[in-house]
């Protein structure tokens, strides 16, 4: 058996579509993601939510198949799938037995190039999207995430990915058909595949399925200014929802690994600082965590805690205290634990075709090239304690964005 590192390959089609692949010989499955630049940031200014409605509508028939025909064919191939938008991309993700993948890619090509967008399905798709937006109000922790991104990120990057209710309600089928023509374009598109595959076969199928795809250049509105500051939303909830965000270097900067290691000291495992200090020692809440996220132009650290109103101010104060304390540096033991945690996650995620397909897409977007598991491991191993502490010293956590949801407002930390 071939025990060398999984092999990767990147091909670029003439029309701008990038094909990125990783061969995983020890599995039976394969996963793919086709991502186009039609996420919420690329929605029309007064049509925020268009991409989300389209992510449903495009599945209602494509090429010579109607809605039922398309669904039946995907189900017959055993395709586990989802189609959704995030800040940047609209992505169709699928996991399945590897031998079926050659039959699935042409179906996906039909969805992205020849969706039928049937008139009778439009109202249903719009109603479902409106329902999803309303449902967010019933789940305060999800609502917090939406509001925190909106408050911390500059427009259009902070837009809610499900859309703005008034915009979605005003969408017409004709608007969306035009939007499909404009935004379902190979420019900037990435097709990522990982699993038991042959590069040659995948290249041939991708070329045949997507080679003649044409469309305009993908373009995003000019990036504005982040609202920042703090915001409280009054709502009769059982727990006060607390969300904090602050800037970090974006992932494409080599220093981002230092920010990630530091965040893992804060919130990597159950022995990390936030869990230990706020939950274990003080019993202030059940959920408290922070994580690093990145867009191409900016990185950020987002923190979350949920707690009953009586303990909310203490929780917020303790949370801010921990965020500020980390600027003072971490210990060698803490770094080693963060490091080994991240290294073992590289191996664990390396076993899942779905996780690898998503990681290859992520790498292509942020770095323009895929990273092997070895490279990811090395990246975690390389920094010294001095490197991390120097970074923390140079990037003190000072400017927070704070969003809270609950029956009473809290005193902001800034």
């Amino acid at each position: 058996m071939n025990q060398t590192a999984p092999m990767m390959r990147v091909d670029r089609l003439d029309n701008g579509l990038t094909l990125v692949m990783e061969r995983m010989p020890d599995v039976q499955s394969a996963s793919m993601v086709l991502a186009i630049m039609a996420g919420a940031s690329y929605d029309p200014e007064h049509g925020v939510g268009s991409g989300n409605v389209l992510s449903d509508w495009i599945l209602r028939g494509a090429g010579d198949r109607d809605s039922r025909g398309l669904t039946a064919e995907l189900d017959s191939l055993g395709v586990q799938r989802s189609c959704a938008v995030d800040t940047v991309f609209l992505r169709f993700s699928a996991s399945l037995l590897a031998e079926k993948l050659p039959d699935v890619i042409p179906l996906v090509a039909d969805i992205f190039q020849r969706a039928r967008l049937p008139e009778d399905g439009f109202n249903a798709c719009r109603d479902l999207a409106l329902g999803q937006i309303d449902a967010i109000d019933d789940e305060p922790s999800q609502k917090l995430n939406v509001l925190l991104r909106q408050q911390h990120l500059p427009p259009p990057l902070g837009r809610p990915t499900l859309g703005v209710k008034e915009h979605v309600a005003a969408l017409s089928a004709a608007d969306l058909r035009l939007d499909y023509e404009r935004r379902f374009t190979p420019d900037g598109a990435i097709l990522s595949i990982a699993g038991r595959i042959s590069f040659e076969q995948m290249h041939e199928i991708a070329e045949k399925s997507f080679g003649s795809w044409t469309g305009p250049k993908a373009s995003m509105a000019t990036i504005g200014v982040s609202p920042g500051g703090s915001r409280h939303v009054l709502q009769e909830t059982n727990q006060v929802q607390i969300g904090l965000a602050f800037d970090a270097v974006p992932e494409r900067e080599p220093e981002s690994i230092l920010a990630m290691l530091a965040v893992n000291v804060l919130s990597g495992g159950m022995g990390a600082r936030l869990f230990t200090e706020i939950r274990e020692k003080q019993g202030l809440c059940y959920a408290v965590h922070a994580g690093y996220q990145s867009l191409r132009t900016q990185g950020m650290i987002m923190g979350y805690a949920g707690t009953v109103p009586e303990r909310a101010q203490r929780t917020l104060d303790a949370f801010v205290h921990e965020l500020k304390r980390i600027s003072g540096g971490i210990t060698a033991d803490e770094l080693e634990r963060a490091r080994i945690g991240m290294k073992s996650r590289v191996v664990m995620n390396g076993e899942s075709t779905g996780a690898r397909a998503a990681a290859l897409l992520h790498d292509m977007y942020h770095l323009g090239r895929p990273r092997s598991l070895d490279e990811l491991r090395h990246r975690v191993e390389a920094p010294t304690l001095a490197d991390v502490n120097k970074y923390l010293d140079a990037h003190p956590v000072q400017q927070f964005t704070l969003v809270t949801i609950g029956p009473a407002e809290l005193a902001a930390p800034n």
């Binding site: 809605s67 055993g78 449902a135 789940e139 159950m270 080994i340 191996v347 075709t353």
Partner: protein, 408 residues
């Protein structure tokens, strides 16, 4: 090719493993056959609270030691409590199997210190509050009560603020002593595992645990057509749940039931998908086989615009009647089989997925089935067998519980 291994210690602790030579990680865990259904109502929520306390230290380790040691091994670890089982697990790199088992096994003999108990009670009360902000969870707890009535499956997993508030450390210790015997649990591992070493280590770490006889009670359920609406004017959506009898986790009909449930309510391409989601009537709709120890049920769920509550309910019930009267078609059954098989293969590629599967099979059936055996059993199901299943379990009588704004 995976191989299955089994050993039993003198105190009746079963050790099982699926050795998967091509994987690069391993998963290991203890599953204890105890959960909310095994609680006396006066200690409601103790199984789950105890699960938290198992992380709070042993005779030789503090809570901070446990968390720090897991982190130092790069482990991805956690635990969960259900109505029927409590499971403690870790996913690790294979070279750390020995120290991981050392911590996990030590955790299974917890100190249950009063000061830790008092502090952790706050965390449990927070967790209860957290779920009170989740309509899906509130509805689930209520329909379990509505359907199972005096049967212990009606018990809440988290307990209530009152029951947790009143619980004492002494009551928890008693519950532990009565349920955490080696014969009432299984130690399972999957992935890159050296089984002989695992057994040796387990002998050393768990061999001294005293044997204990544990009995679970299996009273009958009295299903009946029932409906219950919970009004909450703060909510924007209407939530609907159904429960009706189905086969148990031990019953070989579970394979037919899984296919039937997929035909009715998988999130893509099922009957509920076409009748509720595709026309835009409900943003969520699903139906699944809910297999318990000694009995079973089918669980349905939907959420929608409150203005469409009656229509969604009527549509869902009509689908149940249609499948009861006319069964399923060959083609839809074939599609469901393919979907279920694909999903089983995908989760079977990951040690954590296999470990969870091994644990459940052992707890419920004291047997090991390979993925291939499960898939072969699934393939044997035909439309006639699904017809017979529907005669035994006609998706009735139906308990229907709803939650949303406005009166019903």
């Amino acid at each position: 090719m995976s191989t299955f291994k089994h050993a039993r210690l003198a105190n009746n602790l079963d050790i099982i493993a699926e050795v998967m030579p091509t994987t690069k990680t391993a998963a290991i865990g203890f599953m204890v056959k105890t959960g909310a259904r095994d609680e006396n109502p006066s200690v409601s929520g103790v199984s789950h609270f105890l699960e938290h306390m198992m992380f709070k230290g042993t005779r030789s380790r503090s809570a901070a030691d446990i968390n720090r040691e897991f982190d130092a091994l790069g482990a991805r670890n956690n635990a969960f409590t259900s109505n029927e089982v409590t499971c403690y697990w870790a996913q690790i790199l294979p070279e750390y199997l020995a120290p991981t088992l050392d911590i996990l096994a030590d955790m299974m003999r917890p100190a249950l210190r009063v000061e830790d108990f008092d502090m952790e009670k706050n965390v449990i009360l927070e967790e209860i509050s957290l779920y009170l902000d989740k309509p899906g969870h509130i509805l689930y707890e209520r329909i379990m009560e509505d359907h199972f009535q005096s049967h212990p499956l009606a018990h809440s997993i988290l307990g209530s603020k009152e029951s947790i508030g009143a619980l004492t450390q002494i009551q928890m210790r008693e519950y532990f002593d009565q349920h955490y015997g080696p014969g009432n649990m299984v130690l399972a591992a999957a992935g890159q595992i050296n089984f002989d070493e695992l057994v040796q280590m387990a002998e050393h770490a768990c061999g001294q645990w005293p044997s204990l006889s544990v009995q679970r009670s299996y009273p009958p359920v009295n299903p009946a057509a029932r409906r219950h609406h919970i009004q909450d004017d703060k909510l924007k959506r209407h939530y609907l749940c159904t429960l009706c009898p189905g086969p148990s986790a031990q019953d070989m009909d579970r394979f037919s039931a899984t296919i039937l449930a997929d035909v009715i309510g998988d999130h893509d391409g099922s009957r509920l998908f076409w009748s509720l989601i595709e026309p835009g009537l409900a943003e969520e709709a699903d139906f699944s086989a809910f297999l318990h120890d000694g009995l079973g049920s089918f669980l349905g769920y939907a959420s929608c615009d409150p203005a469409r509550a009656a229509l969604v309910e009527e549509t869902m019930v009509k689908e149940f009647i249609r499948v009861r009267n006319a069964g399923v078609a060959e083609e839809e059954m074939a599609r469901s089989k393919t979907k279920i098989a694909t999903s089983a293969v995908l989760s079977g590629e990951l040690p954590l997925g296999r470990m969870r599967n091994l644990c459940s099979q052992w707890i419920y059936n004291r047997e090991f089935r390979t993925l291939e055996e499960d898939l072969a059993e699934l393939n044997k199901v035909n439309v006639n067998r699904i017809g017979e299943l529907l005669e035994k379990y006609p998706l009735a009588p139906l308990t229907l519980t709803t939650l949303g704004p406005g009166e019903k």
